[in-house]
Symmetry: D2
Subunit: 142 residues, 4 copies
Amino acid sequence: MESTTEIRVRYAETDAMGIAHHSHFIVWMELGRSDFLRNLGKSYAEWEAEGVRLPVNGVSLTYRAPARYDELVLVRTSLASANRRHLAFSYRIEREGLLLAEGESRHLVAGADGRASVLPDAMLALLGGKLSPGGGSAPDPS
Amino acid sequence: MESTTEIRVRYAETDAMGIAHHSHFIVWMELGRSDFLRNLGKSYAEWEAEGVRLPVNGVSLTYRAPARYDELVLVRTSLASANRRHLAFSYRIEREGLLLAEGESRHLVAGADGRASVLPDAMLALLGGKLSPGGGSAPDPS
Amino acid sequence: MESTTEIRVRYAETDAMGIAHHSHFIVWMELGRSDFLRNLGKSYAEWEAEGVRLPVNGVSLTYRAPARYDELVLVRTSLASANRRHLAFSYRIEREGLLLAEGESRHLVAGADGRASVLPDAMLALLGGKLSPGGGSAPDPS
Amino acid sequence: MESTTEIRVRYAETDAMGIAHHSHFIVWMELGRSDFLRNLGKSYAEWEAEGVRLPVNGVSLTYRAPARYDELVLVRTSLASANRRHLAFSYRIEREGLLLAEGESRHLVAGADGRASVLPDAMLALLGGKLSPGGGSAPDPS
């Protein structure tokens, strides 16, 4: 499954180079991830209400071309791997078919107290069928 | 009492006009307020730990001149009014003596649950002696 | 004319009080203003391409209720006043009909070099017919 | 050479998990890089004035522990590689000796027009002697 999120570049997101500041791509990845979970049938707000947090424990991002104020960019989000303790998402950020950036985020599963936890079975099942073709159910180290 | 906070303009704070985006002045006011309370002897982090929140219920800001990347700006923060239920701070943001912006923020007193509350007497006493000459102990409507 | 802009609260916009940080409302006002101009028939990106800038020279905002992660908020934007040298917009930010905040922004007209300038007649004409009922064509001091 | 930058976590940088949002670490890396160049004897603002830009073309970051409001974090910045067309910096973000995050940023050399360019010899010489022990003068592909 791939989820798509359309984002219009905000003036507040531009910098003195006249382009969207690179740190905002990290936020756009988060918006893509948020929509991915919503499209799966349970929003991250609902996950939180059930006591599950997915704190980010790693990001990587390669920039290919800039985005400018008022442009519409598209974030394509896929689930790269999932097990009871870790999730990873991959992202392609495009504008009119042109690749602007590619990235990945890695997440721990945590409880409402922020401590490491495990994903409830129902959530793992929900995610399990949605791994991207390139992805795999990462071996669960626990 | 006036508290001063030095801030170096971040590249991430600039926008496509080549100047610090106006929304960041609101954050700089918050940094000034944070230092004002720290200088008073109890940081806002300590207020929070004791169950007191000061949510913002109003801001106003007039911009006189822009700030640019890497410039050092100075936030001068004063307590404009204080009673058991409301606080107000005023700010002058300068660069090398040039006034860049003047603003004010108004705050409710709330508890850890976010609901309206009253300021503990010790905190009100701490603030009471620090009103700016132009300010006054606003009549407490409660 | 009133323009409406729907915004979903980003996780990155929340703060440790669990609500959208007040500084982001300033950015949401900018999104509302951007859509207002787009709906008028000429986006701010097009204004910029024609050498017109509208730097903010004042904002004021009163907060009535918080916004939380993933909520949909609506920004209602109106033109409060317009002349060759100044514009002002007013904003109501709502969630499901509940008023969250009311604000105003004031703008100078500037050229591509950032210096004070005057609005081209065609743009003033475009704006002139769209003043909100409560607004007026502010007397032009120049 | 290693440069250190002290940053106090802003309230505006926290999120609803009660910790600094992960995207701000990217901005903190930028502050570290900015100080690294300043300590080298020529600030990035001066590089820009001489027509050199260092747009980011990649970032990666691994998070080890969270940062909270008002905490003082330290960014340790090193130059990982440098040639006429590319630079890379590495970062360790700590709080009281505890490692919070490790990251890297990769940069293109560009001119004032944003197009790929080459680093002036004087700047390359300035950087050349400051590579971190682990780094190397990356072979220049051009």
